[in-house]
Amino acid sequence: MLKHYETVFIMTPVLSDDQMKETVKKFENILCEKGAEIVHQENWGLKRLEYQIQKKSTGFYHLFEFKAEPHVVAELELQYRRDERIMRYLSVTLDKDAIAYAEKRRTHGFGQKKETKPETTFEVKREPRPEVKYDIVEDPIEEQMYEQNIDNKEE
């Protein structure tokens, strides 16, 4: 029976973008060759590490979610160990809750996808202000005073 797995690995930050994609491609091919069915993959990009690994403080993260026979994981991890571009890896079996979570994460765009989301600008709908008619009481004396005030200021 195929089991559900998830694997995350960290590549050295020394790689260029193309080299990084090449390594990802390599492991994707390895998985495909071994008869694994890749369900989902995520590129987290260059991330800061919380502590140094091989004297590097950043790394490219990549995640694969796949269904495969159990022996495939062992072979994949062997390839990880042989590849010197990989600094760290972690493979985890997903139980039923984890699968549900992963699905939710995929569809709702949890975590990493949040950052790439285009910023949504909220349009504020303003209702047009009701026109208020002010009753202007014309007071000749006040008008005069007002005019005088203006005159005074101009001087």
């Binding site: 995350v8 590490l49 502590y51 995640l63 972690l90 985890v92 809750d97 984890a98 549900a100 979570y101």
Partner: protein, 90 residues
């Protein structure tokens, strides 16, 4: 001076202890993600050590899962093994 200060013979209880609860049980979270370092920082003290159940109120079932997730996150350098002022740096 201090004449207006009110003195009590018996100290009054200022705050009643609120009962701790397991936040996972309460909100129905079944899986704790090891990939979410920011979330896991809530279960870790300033030095990066896992907080005990008696402080966080997490149930045993989920404390095990939290511990597992924190350890996985540490392996992937999403959480530090040791740190100073982990929370104040944020």
């Amino acid at each position: 001076m201090a004449q207006n200060d009110i003195k009590y013979l018996t100290p009054i209880a200022v705050d009643f202890k609120t009962k701790k609860y397991c936040r996972f049980k309460k909100s129905g979270i079944k899986f704790i993600d090891y990939k979410d370092g920011e979330f896991l920082k809530r279960f870790v003290n300033e030095q990066g050590r896992i907080l005990p159940r008696r402080l966080t109120g997490t149930s045993l079932k989920f404390q095990k899962k939290v511990a597992q997730a924190v350890k996985r996150a540490r392996h992937l350098a999403l959480l530090p093994f040791v740190a100073d002022n982990l929370k104040t740096n944020q």
